[in-house]
Assembly symmetry: D2
Amino acid sequence: MADAKARIAVLGASGYTGSELVRLLLRHPRVELVALTADRKAGQTMAEVFPQFAPFALPKLVTIDEVDFTAVDLVFCALPHATTQLVIKKVFDAAPNVKVVDLSADFRLKDPGAYEQWYGHPHQALELQQEAVFGLVEIYRDDIRKARLVANPGCHSSTAILPIVPLLEAGAIEPESIVVDSKTGMSGAGRSAKEAMLFSEVSEGIHAYAVTGHRHMGELDQEFSKAAGRPVAPMFVPVLAPMNRGIYATIFVRTTGVRAEDLHSILADYYKGEPFVHVLPFGQVPQSRHVRGSNMVFLGVAADRNPSRAILVSTLDNLVKGASGQAVQNMNLVLGFPETLGLDQIALMP
Amino acid sequence: MADAKARIAVLGASGYTGSELVRLLLRHPRVELVALTADRKAGQTMAEVFPQFAPFALPKLVTIDEVDFTAVDLVFCALPHATTQLVIKKVFDAAPNVKVVDLSADFRLKDPGAYEQWYGHPHQALELQQEAVFGLVEIYRDDIRKARLVANPGCHSSTAILPIVPLLEAGAIEPESIVVDSKTGMSGAGRSAKEAMLFSEVSEGIHAYAVTGHRHMGELDQEFSKAAGRPVAPMFVPVLAPMNRGIYATIFVRTTGVRAEDLHSILADYYKGEPFVHVLPFGQVPQSRHVRGSNMVFLGVAADRNPSRAILVSTLDNLVKGASGQAVQNMNLVLGFPETLGLDQIALMP
Amino acid sequence: MADAKARIAVLGASGYTGSELVRLLLRHPRVELVALTADRKAGQTMAEVFPQFAPFALPKLVTIDEVDFTAVDLVFCALPHATTQLVIKKVFDAAPNVKVVDLSADFRLKDPGAYEQWYGHPHQALELQQEAVFGLVEIYRDDIRKARLVANPGCHSSTAILPIVPLLEAGAIEPESIVVDSKTGMSGAGRSAKEAMLFSEVSEGIHAYAVTGHRHMGELDQEFSKAAGRPVAPMFVPVLAPMNRGIYATIFVRTTGVRAEDLHSILADYYKGEPFVHVLPFGQVPQSRHVRGSNMVFLGVAADRNPSRAILVSTLDNLVKGASGQAVQNMNLVLGFPETLGLDQIALMP
Amino acid sequence: MADAKARIAVLGASGYTGSELVRLLLRHPRVELVALTADRKAGQTMAEVFPQFAPFALPKLVTIDEVDFTAVDLVFCALPHATTQLVIKKVFDAAPNVKVVDLSADFRLKDPGAYEQWYGHPHQALELQQEAVFGLVEIYRDDIRKARLVANPGCHSSTAILPIVPLLEAGAIEPESIVVDSKTGMSGAGRSAKEAMLFSEVSEGIHAYAVTGHRHMGELDQEFSKAAGRPVAPMFVPVLAPMNRGIYATIFVRTTGVRAEDLHSILADYYKGEPFVHVLPFGQVPQSRHVRGSNMVFLGVAADRNPSRAILVSTLDNLVKGASGQAVQNMNLVLGFPETLGLDQIALMP
């Protein structure tokens, strides 16, 4: 039965990354949604929580405790930080052979000290933390294929890591020169009712936030340092833009003597053949709307007037390649499906 | 060779309905894009005109004269009004057996007088005007299957016709009572550079336009009158809302004695089993974002405090069910494909 | 001391109508802000709650109990419905000579039965309800000058009453034909943290709400009936548009035999010389952005193709003429100031 | 006649900076608008071009040739770059004693070579170029008071110069470390009909532009170099955000050994008592909406985790402090009025 469908559970289906998973998985030819959870909305239908799903047959929302994980092949975990590590521990206790793709931040940082520094408490599932694979497919594809637990990276993190890591690995840029200004749409903040997220507080304006330290910086430090072979701590400021979807990072670097064109060549080579990373011609920069709704990352490299400096631009849809699309890409690898299956949607523009 | 792909040409691929056709057709399993035209941008690639297509292989933009229509199975025509009728005449002269789905307004009005009244000049292809089938699948499915030339309806028209026609056919509402307030997003206005369409002229505000007569009223008159069996001329005001996609019609009616619940039953029965029309539970109204990017229409019926009045709400994505998705649905019928093929995308929300 | 400044208290300064009052009053030459209340934010500065006020000297936020109303000339009450009536009763008990302009709905409906019907509970201050004057200056100017308690009308109400009442008084339109489709920006919903008001739930889409009955309908019924001399119950649907400010009502009417031009003449005559109501030339319709940030109402009248029908358009800024600007206009009358004082700001466009 | 009103002409009143000047000047107690020009719209009223002015008495639009500059006290010039220098030359030829505040870029760069480099052609009015004063009041107040020709700075320029110049003058930051990521709303791009400025091309997304060199960099180079006492060429990328108004610059710097707190102290001291510059408490960053519609600049300073680095944030409304409000501030100085006259509007939020 080569084509039996994989049985999928989505924990935390009432948030935006959860609903985006459902959107993608409903149209994936090799999976079947068997359980959707939402603790506070258990008993409701997905159509009540997200009316766009009204025309489709979907399981009712249940609590996590109601899910039989032994009857599930893969679990997507789209729960809040910190509670996730305890939930996944219990999932593996109940069903050691299930696969898990976790969209929270709980398993992204390998170093327990770094985790404690950024999240303010000791990790509660250290052995799983060590087992987890960082789920950025273009960097860790082979490890992900073999993983039981994949830690989907943060949206700001993916956007900055993809252009920077190949350049650091190539020794082409000064590690201490990296400045990342990362603009994000609102959907990344989730669906919780907070005054600062109201339309009237967010539209028709823009602002930086978390300037004294955003948690995704821990992921940048980890991946940049690994690529550079020494500790790297970039400057990073997240900025909230009045739009639903998209991360758009402007990245400023100094080179180690090479020209901006060389940085472009390194990235073009690195991502040649990658289905979801598109490097624009040298000197061109993308727009976030060119990837909206798709699983694509668009990268641009431009020269600065000072030949030892360069500007990189990276953009993706935070709910797709920055979260749920990336998660499905990870699932495809973990379950042995073609990597692009169910992820072929083209950007919606306008 | 049951699965040989149909060869498709898109005339006018550099506008928003053109790019939306390309977006949908690129992922349609039974078609192959063999020609894309854009007279003023001939010679350019689609990626230059719409960067979101950069990762995909597509034919270069050419002029209409460069297309060999005898090597094409179906032509989508997304050209401006008035020139379309001459172009399609020439297409059929060159290739009488080709099928055409026209997204312009040129073939929607059956009555030559009505055409001349709304468009200000006599029709130049009267015999084709008579041959054309009004391409609203849920109303004219059988005719469309046999058609050579399908006239895709206007976006405001589709939105209002779908809830109103079944009620008029059932004699359930007073024909002279119909009031339609039809809100639209900006993409319906196309991609031409006009001051009134600038971001700074459109965002953070709302306004009615064409209050003295919008051309889609000709389509409403035609279809409402046919359904009622006597002349109907509704009140209709289009309103421009600061959003990209979506038509959202609030419709006010007086019943012929039945209750609002009865109107709901009539619509629920009429659209039972329709893949692209979803009637919400009585008393609920949809949001335009619940259909954004999808080929769905969502319909709602609510009671007024006066039992002889009722409120209908109808919403669709003007670029999908209101234009290019509807056109692909028409193509599927004309070419004998399953009606929903390539149209299964779920709404993007947020 | 003819020019001694009036001492003003704003109850409920932490909401949008409260902050809009502060914005207007800070620049009003004849008033002094002596007390600002916000029960849950008492102890904070306005700058903490609304950073745009950081450069200005303002009293700290306190609780209502901390205000000495005998040292206040006029109180603006921008509190939630239902609690307001109890608060104002206590204010008058403590300081019977203070003037009050109330922005809540508590004193708008004269009929106790109508109040109970729309608000679900008996009124708790019936004698004040009878004393209160409906604060739509252009209709009730003389009464307002003499009032102790002014009930500022609802934003949807003001927008529809201003064009409709003169026409009903003139007997020029059929009372039972009135249909009001009233689009509103988000700021009218206030600053409370609710999921349905998040940016991601509101932007890039549009939807009707409260279709089974919006409370402002009580105000329309009251004022329309009074103007017509018989009970009038219009059709009314409010629609939420993705913008911060603005009410934009499209109104559909049948005339009593006169032409649309006559409706225009009636309105142009009625509002001749009014500083805050501008009637556009016949056939033109306004945009909500043309009044944004100002205290203006723009009215348009257009002909329908059926000479016994007409389209009216009315727009104002819900936070200014629809709430706080209207309240300051009422204050100017109550305190004997020139009516336009402090209200001369021109619309911000773009 | 100490209070005789100054006679003002606005050249280029049909663009957004022109209409913003009219909005401000209509409410300025010491000026009278005597001439408004718009070559292509000459003969029209301002109400036809900008309906928000319909309620106000304003001179008709005329051509520049129709203006008698000897009957004018001060001219605002809001014309396109390059043509401006020829127009102003002719104005001074006709009326040598008139004052001019120029909102174009023509007189901002002192060095003829720099002008030619950034604008691609030799300057046509070199003696006026030398005479002009750079119109950033907080830096050049005394010079502006005595000036006949004031060159209003660019919007991106003002936003970055205000926080950076005091720090460079104090020797507190490394000149070569400066990185400016400057987000702007759409109104800065003007009112010309271009495809790239359509709502559907700009909303719901974000993108960098002019990455290979924006003309405002010439102004940054000039002012930064002067402040540092040696050539400075910062990294600068402008980014277009989906909003009407606002410039929001995130600025990344390395200090010369001092801490971020020290940078904050330097700015707080420098701008103490300035009516239009507000420095937030250390560690806080502003939002662009907190200055929207006002003439304020809000500055924030935050520490980076690396003590030798810091993050500066600067925001203003591009049409007010970034253009027309700044111009009125300049006018007030040039004509000897109180500096804040007519500029006291508080930000509109939401």
